[in-house]
Amino acid sequence: MDGWIRWGAPAAAIAVAFPAYAYQYSTVGAAQQQAFPGARFEEIQPQRVWKALVGGRVTGYFFVDHVIGKHLYIDYSVALGADGRVRRVEILTYRESYGFEVANAGWLAQFTGKSSGSALAVGQDIRNISGATLSSRHVTEGVKRILAYYATRLR
């Protein structure tokens, strides 16, 4: 009985303290606020693209997208500044059991400052993650696609 309490209590405490789904690192609203603190958001495309406004002036764009990891989807968000450069990439939800190193802030920080002219290729300007090769490649391609979308549609 003692053993059960000793091992079960911390596990239960952890499970209770984190009622959100395991792999949901952030919500859309929280990611929006992290990328553009204090801004208000106008939807340009329902649930996918927002414009961020501070005092009536456009400070950037916020995209929500998903890519395949190995088999399951990774939901992520990309915040672009008004100059079209990436401000912040955030992993919202990671569902698979392996490869969640793509959610590390250090790896995602590589995308800050990239523009639609950047190479954005794993192995060139984006580091590979050896245990998450597919996820890192797909997330990189997703950010590249969003930058291309911005360059052709929104600018």
Partner: protein, 586 residues
């Protein structure tokens, strides 16, 4: 609520939809005037809520909506915003169906009125704590008469950058698209099947033929990887493997391979810091290459030498684990599994012991193959002891050293001795012998260059060598001491070929020349047992491997390498080879 609408519009025969084109302009024109503002707001709120019902049904399966906990105000607001967005999407559809110019101005006013009324409803129903960004998430309505219907509809329906149907995908996040080998839709929602495999061919020296060079081909493996998403928290993962082309059905058949279950486990995803993997067949987390063993993860044709005996990749066992993230960049896994057993395979008695003295049996731990034969069986309750193994692994990718990732593992079992173990000299029973493995590995890809370094070290510590079967089997040459250890270092360079040749066959090729050196010593000092002991030196081996791996895409690799094996035995190890290979993983 719909009946109220119908009554107000004065058209009893209309359908309940507030988008009935004929009814709307009259309704809102009249009621938009000042003295009907209150009535307008009330009726609009009513119609909004009615639409919200159907909108909610359609958009119900969202990440937020499925939360079992009490929804917060933020979640309610997000839900309202989504309903509003859906209203606008449907309205834009109507616009595209070609409204008359004369009605367009009143529609614009209607959008403004409805938008303001909806906002009023939202604000009224929430406390002051609602975040600023959610309260005014409306698109500014175009001033009446200033824009054409075409322009208005374009504002509301910016094209999806993944295709039009992608706009609804986030509301139903099931991987239904490419579940079958990454190419076609899966027949069962949530079921995904992938595959990997490899071939090897070339010329090898055969040590059993005095080092004669012989050519050949091996269908090394083909693995199917079905996985299934029970729900967002429970995932099933498996690998079914056909090795060496299949199995024989009778002694005359030429097939000598195996079919086995390499992995089959269910993951309960609880939090990023704590997850449970239920008992199943799982990989032992003892080495990076054991965990990530697909052919596109290593550059040589055969698996790295250290991973063929010392850490017998692929080492899988009946196991259960807890795993997760400790801090950012550091992950842990603690696993309990069926222990390694000092029994090298073969028939067993019904009492689940090796065949009794003096028939004899093969050892599981030897000075030639380390623990390759000692992996616990996974079927038919054939494990020969009640002992369990305990493994703890830390994987780390420190943020202060980008491009570096590594891991360290510790394995311990109280004993590897199977029940009924005995010495072949006199049938005396063999007692317990614990086994500990210390292992560490790293990979470092120097940032902004193509240079990559890999290294690995593993040490197996035997608790009581006197109780190992290999030291008691009358063979004086294959004995084992207190430890078996090995280390390897590898350097590789990633060379993209597209700057020279451009995309070939539609993709950007990458060549990776590499060199690896491995040293292993399976016969260190500390021997004890009933055998005579004449280690001749084949337990001490060195391997040099040099070659090139070419990746047409990251999922496909073509390999060619030369392996030179050296040992300290007088006749030499006679195991050089020149091999080509092909591997894929999708």
């Amino acid at each position: 609520m719909r009946r109220k609408q119908r009554a107000a519009s004065g058209q009893g025969g209309e359908s309940g939809s507030i988008f009935a084109s004929r009814a709307r302009p009259v309704y809102f024109n009249v009621l938009a005037r000042k003295r009907y503002r209150g009535l307008t707001c009330a009726l609009t709120a009513a119609s909004f809520l009615a639409l919200a019902e159907s909108g909610a049904l359609a958009g119900e399966a969202t990440l937020q909506g499925r939360s079992a906990a009490q929804p917060s105000y933020e979640q309610l607001l997000e839900k309202l915003d989504r309903m509003e967005a859906r209203m606008r999407a449907l309205e834009s559809e109507l616009h595209r169906k070609g409204e008359a110019d004369a009605n367009h101005g009143s529609k614009a006013r209607a959008a403004a009125t409805r938008g303001k009324a909806a906002n009023g409803t939202a604000e009224a129903s929430t406390a002051a704590g609602a975040p600023e960004s959610q309260q005014s998430a409306t698109v500014e309505p175009p001033p009446p008469g200033k824009r054409t219907p075409g322009e208005v509809s374009r504002l509301y329906e910016a094209p999806g950058f993944l295709g039009a149907r992608e706009t609804t995908l986030l509301e139903a996040p099931r991987p239904a698209d490419t579940g079958l080998f990454g190419a076609a839709p899966s027949p069962v929602p949530g079921l995904v099947i992938g595959a990997y495999g490899e071939f090897a061919f070339g010329a090898l020296q055969n040590p059993a033929a005095n080092g004669q060079w012989q050519t050949g081909f091996d269908t090394t493996r083909l693995v199917l990887t079905p996985s299934y998403l029970f729900n967002d928290n429970i995932i099933f993962n498996s690998e079914i493997e056909w090795e060496h082309g299949g199995i024989a059905t009778d002694a005359d058949d030429k097939l000598t391979g195996e079919i086995n279950i390499e992995q089959a486990w269910v993951d309960f995803r609880i939090t990023p810091y704590f997850n449970i993997r239920a008992p199943g067949i799982d990989l032992v987390p003892i080495d990076w290459l054991n965990l990530y063993h697909e052919p596109t993860r290593y550059y040589s044709v055969l698996r790295p030498e250290l991973n063929r005996g010392l850490i017998p990749s692929t080492w899988r066992a009946p196991a259960a684990s807890i795993w997760g993230q400790l801090i950012e960049g550091v992950n842990y896994q603690f696993q309990v599994n069926s222990a390694l057993e000092d029994f090298g395979g073969g028939p067993i008695t019904d009492a689940r012991t090796p065949l009794p003295f003096p028939i004899g049996y093969n050892p599981g731990i030897t000075g030639i193959a380390a623990v390759r034969a000692a992996r616990a069986p996974i079927g038919s309750f054939r494990q020969l002891s009640n002992y369990l193994g305990y493994i703890f692994r830390l994987s780390y990718a420190p943020t202060f050293l980008p491009g570096f990732d590594g891991g360290t593992s510790v394995y311990f079992t109280p004993s590897t001795t199977p029940r009924g173990a005995y010495s072949q000299l006199n049938g005396a029973p063999l007692g317990r012998s614990s086994l500990t493995i210390l292992e560490t590995d790293f990979r470092y890809h120097v940032p902004d260059t193509g240079l990559e370094f890999r290294g690995e070290f593993a040490d197996i510590l035997i608790g009581n060598p006197a109780n190992l079967r290999v030291n008691n089997d009358l063979d004086p040459f294959n004995n084992v001491g207190k430890s078996l250890w090995g280390a390897s270092g590898e350097v590789a360079y990633h060379l993209p070929l597209s700057p020279f040749f451009g995309p070939i066959l539609g993709s950007n090729w990458e060549a990776v020349p590499f060199y690896r050196y491995t040293y292993q010593n399976f016969q260190t000092g500390g021997f004890a047992g009933t055998d005579l002991n004449f280690p001749v030196g084949f337990g001490r081996t060195q391997f040099h491997v040099a070659g090139i791996a070419v990746f047409p895409t990251p999922e496909l690799v073509l390999k060619l390498n030369y392996l030179r094996a050296i040992d300290a035995a007088p006749g030499g190890i006679n195991s050089n080879s020149v091999l080509g290979g092909l591997g894929f993983y999708f």
